[in-house]
Amino acid sequence: MIGMGAMIGAGIFVLTGLAAEIAGPAAILVFALNGVVTAFTGLSYAELAASIPKSGGGYAFVREVFADLPSFVMGWMLWFAYMIAGGLYALGFAPNFLELLHVYDLTPAPDQVGAVALPVVDAAVPAAVGLAFVAVLGLVVLNAISTAASGSVETIFTLIKVSILVVFVAFGATSPMFTSAEFQPLFADGGGPLSILPAMGLTFIAFEGYDLITTVTEEVKNPRENIPKAIFVSLAVTVVVYLAVVSVAVGTLGADGLAAAGEAGIAQAATEFMPTGLPVIRNGGAIIVFGAVFSTLTALNAVVIASSRVAFSMGREDQLLPSFGQLHHRYGTPFVAILASGVVMLGSVALPTQSAGNMSSLFFLLSFIVVNGSVIKLRRERPDMNRPYKMPYYPIPPVLGIVLNLILTGVLVEYLLRTDVLALGLSAGWIALGVVAYAVYTRLGADESASKPTGADETAPQTDD
């Protein structure tokens, strides 16, 4: 459920508008194809998660298979992907929140508050960025000083989100705007079919939920059946919901309108066709807008937890400073890991939404490639490992997964070269920083362990003589 929560919730509200901007009405295709591409990676995750009983997601699996440096880079990338995703959700939260206030006439319409995503400096931009900043700060502090909300709350959240989206689709599909919907031309001006590729890259982050599912697998009963089931059910539901919502959104608001609304696309579409004049909530669109605010916030919360958990595991495995792997004595939370993640997230709020989406997607793509690779490596090196779930038609799915993800990575990098060198530079910088940090850290660690006898005294006292 937690994975579905993250996959369905925020991505759809935040990214639909951006995808429409790049790909036009073909945004529908974008999400469908992404579903197909990630399905292969889903198989890999299912096999790994069922046979390696560790909750830690992709990093834990790769750590099991690869040597120190590759697994460090994997954790480093995944950590970053989650942190940037946090920035993305925060940036998605802000305009939707403004839209919510607008529905109640507390602020002017969001488009007057500024096209938030664009780095065009007008007076209103700081308002949204500030809001995103506050949201991140609030959740980081919350998570740092108290242990996370339980899984059952997460389930309820997910159900709320899905119901809101069902309402959205139901009203949208029956509205007069949809019956006269224009899906032509299918592709954005001058883009042609290829224009969907960068959009696929951009919205890839919507499928990060796999990794989230596998970070919580320890609580699963009968993992042999339930983990693959959880992965495939959430994939199927996610794709269906996405397709329905995107079709309705494109059908009612039109791709151009959606693109113009950016991160608040769905919310804006909703206010167009939802009934108005209702008591209390006044405007049916408010439900959807509320859904968007709610989703982005819960997703933000999920990635705060997820990112700190990656850093925490890395600390446990002695790949980051040990303090990352320690619980705070007073709060009982991985305090250092959460704070460090929070700092990067706060920094990423200053990015344009598109860049945040691009970078996060890029890193998820890269890490998915590594995950597929580790399935192959594990099969070759440990043929006798017990695999409660074996993917069908091995090795076709992981190879396809690698190839398709590589293609998307290539397209995304190429697209970024043309449009968003900043994001690309920051990404490369992050990896370079990681390698340098790793080199320094292992150098220091080697000195320390050389001067200290190996800690042989950690037997439980019962086995002492």
Partner: protein
Amino acid sequence: MTMTLDIIIAGGGRVGFETAALLDTRGHDVTVVESDGDRCDAMADEYVATIIRGDASNPDILRQADVAGSDVIAGLTGLPGLNLAICMEAAELNPEIRTVARITERDQEGYERFVGETVFPEGAGARVAANEIEGSDVRTLADVTGTLDIMEIRVEEGAPAAGKALRDVRFPAGTLVISDDDGERVARPETTLAPGKRYVIAVEPDVADEVMNLLRG
């Protein structure tokens, strides 16, 4: 500093499996090597360890269990000779590894030249059985609690809770610090968790790894 241990357990029978489950709740990474297919499936359902199916004395199987990257190997099959062979083979492949072998007789002196530690589950079991048979209404707690674990834990230098007073440390619900250091007094809020000292602590299984993290780092 203590990080998560990578542990190989050869033999997924009752002893091996229970050991693996216990170590898993304490937050370690466990790999079990077991040759019986049905046992492997049963263990996979419990989801506590990575499982390699095969004969642990086969060097290739040991390599697949990642002897080179592990901290401890425990031969816990019912065959002492096999356990000994596994431990010695592992030590040959990775001189750094600590070895623990299960033996089936009380006399353990002969093994000490070859393995780091020996365990004699029948001995521990006999103590429990003798306690039960005696039927005394008051007894010491070793081995007689249900899933609750009562442990003596040495506080590690640099662990999050090291050097902190008990009232300043938030242990997860399901934890009770029982004794002062050296076990002479009952713990009080002002009791300080001094590094290097041992404390008796009752822990429910699902929070064991958090407690270990706070006290051991």
